[in-house]
Amino acid sequence: MAYFYQNPALRWLMRNPIWGFVLIVFIFFSLASDHFFDARNFQNILVQTSTIGLIALGMTLVMINGNIDLSVGATLALAAAFAVDVQSWAMFTTWGNWQILPAVCLALLVGIAMGAINGFIVWKTGVDAFIVTLGAMLGIRGLVFVYTGEQSFYAMNFAYSDFSALSVGPLPVLAVIFLLCVLAVHWLLSRTVHGRNTYAVGGNREAAVNAGIRVGPHMMINFMIIGFLAALSGVLLSTQMGAATPNLGRDYELWVITAVVLGGTKLTGGKGDIIGTLGGVLAIGILRNGMNLMQVPAFYVYVILGSILIAVLFLDKRFNASTDGGLRL
């Protein structure tokens, strides 16, 4: 046992149990499936993870703030619809492949705007973020349907969907974008004043207020960041499809929250990091990919994922025993 506590790698693993879990499922699928341990499959996993993963980065910030955002799935769909639709606007027809640029920019702006609306309402009304974004989850999905008229949009320009097939060295470009965002948000959270204030606001809001941190705008910025990342995720997803569907991103908020919680971020705020979140999204990505490769029936996948979520929560509680020193409340 003494060794266990001294070994830095193991101690790190104790603090980030999700990476232990990632390791275990990784080894399990490598042994159990012929197709799992393969460079191309790893590329697939990274691309598949990037959708949930990008949003999870933003969700980590929002949840460390002590808030939550349930509207990300709808925001993703709205941004994807804009990204695909705007390309075909008449004013851009002469732009050639450059017509993608204003479309993507507008889509990202829409994402930021949705985040700003949520953040502003949370800030000004003081209504719990759970309620505000639950409303937005319904409302923004309504906006998607109003905008698309229930139809799917598709990109005339194949250059758009070709983008997702590009690679940078051995890595698909989508994976590269995702990893860059991981680094950026990690840097933001651990190195910058805004990032450190994120912990302060979530860890002790009153202290943050008293210390002169402008909590409202601060939270609004984080909602805008998650809006941006959800929109980015939607844009990247739409490049994979060359299209946008109004039902895109349903239930994503649940998987994103699951991933972030698996990564050790606390719902109560003040605690969490990007390394854990990355572990959380990889855990889900690997499980899904591995179960696809092994053809676990879809019905069982639901049960397995649900059980794992609860099990990890349970183990986390065991490992990070509370500090009340045995008081039985």
């Binding site: 799917s152 299209a243 990919n289 092994m294 029936p297």
Partner: protein
């Protein structure tokens, strides 16, 4: 790690299905739209597996996208990754799967689209489509409606889950055909029932309140149609109201037998599944397969229903 044990157990069950691949068998991957959302898809899956098991030279990998486009794209990637010989896809969205199909095409894996077709832009990348003609089904329903009402009347339409191809195509076929065939029939409103009987029932209840005179109801499938029928029965207004659906379900068949339900479109998931597998095998055998392979989905009405077996779902 008891959960890992569970996972092991769960996966062992499916291992048997994969078995050891012999050299001369073909491996076909299928990714379905949303098994479990209704019986049609479940029966399809079972029929597909049964058909594959009956053929010793075929090994299948059966996946389900759960209605999520992104997950279906992942599954396409995973199937390509496993270098299956052919992929059968039931697209969650006709547009959005085009690039994924194109990828498979580029990797040299033939793709057969089943049940609901892929968008026009993707047609050049698929080996073949096999399935019902959903637009044609909408047309059939419009024709039956026209017949039943004698060209005059006010109807409402209850559509499937908004945004899904099957729902959109049936609605399009119905709307266009009805307008051209029976200008005397007016559509009072179109509301979605999400393929859900209870939701259709609730929607119909409100429509019954809103409109004093409803002569006919067209529903995107019989499941919703029966929901609408339930609502009308409860309101005591079913008498003389014409109910027309699509994808004849057992409940719809029975209601037809009782004379409450006018007609539907008979579509067998077993035929659908078998046709898809056969098309894929034909493609792999190098046969010259036409791009569009519609299997027959005839009209079924109270008059001719005895010619059909009661649907199993």
């Amino acid at each position: 790690m008891t959960k890992t044990m569970k996972l092991l157990l769960a996966s062992c069950g499916t291992f048997a299905l994969v078995g050891a691949a012999a050299a001369d068998t073909v491996r076909i991957g299928i990714t379905q739209n949303n098994v479990g959302i209704d019986s049609y898809q479940t029966t399809y899956e079972q029929a597909f597996i049964a058909a594959a098991e009956a053929n010793p030279d075929v090994e299948v990998i059966v996946l389900d996208a759960g209605g999520d486009v992104a997950r279906q794209i992942s599954q396409m990637q995973d199937l390509i990754q496993q270098r299956v010989d052919a992929i059968i896809i039931w697209p969650t969205d006709g547009q959005a799967l085009v690039p994924a199909v194109r990828n498979a095409h580029r990797e040299g894996i033939p793709v057969v689209v089943t049940n609901s077709n892929i968008a026009e832009a993707g047609m050049e990348f698929i080996a073949a489509f096999s399935g019902p003609n959903n637009i044609q089904q909408g047309i059939y329903s419009a024709e039956m409606m026209c017949d039943a009402l004698g060209g005059e009347g006010q109807i409402v339409q209850i559509t499937g889950m908004p945004g899904y191809t099957t729902a959109i195509e049936r609605q399009r076929g119905f709307d266009e055909r009805l307008a051209e065939l029976c200008p005397g029939v007016t559509q009072l409103d179109i509301q979605p029932g999400d393929w859900n009987r209870e939701r259709a029932q609730r929607t119909m209840e409100t429509l019954l309140t809103r409109f004093d005179q409803i002569d006919g109801v067209y529903s995107g499938d019989d499941n919703m149609g029966v929901g609408a029928l339930n609502a009308a029965l409860a309101a005591g207004r079913a008498e003389g109201m014409v109910f027309i659906g699509a994808t004849n379900f057992a409940v719809g068949y029975d209601a037809m037998g009782r004379g409450e339900y006018w007609g539907s479109v008979y579509q067998s998931p077993v035929d659908d599944a078998r046709a898809a597998l056969q098309t894929a095998l034909d493609v792999l055998a190098g046969e010259d397969v036409p791009k569009l392979n519609y299997f027959d989905t005839p009209k079924i009405t109270q008059e001719n229903m005895h010619e059909f077996d009661r649907p199993v779902f």
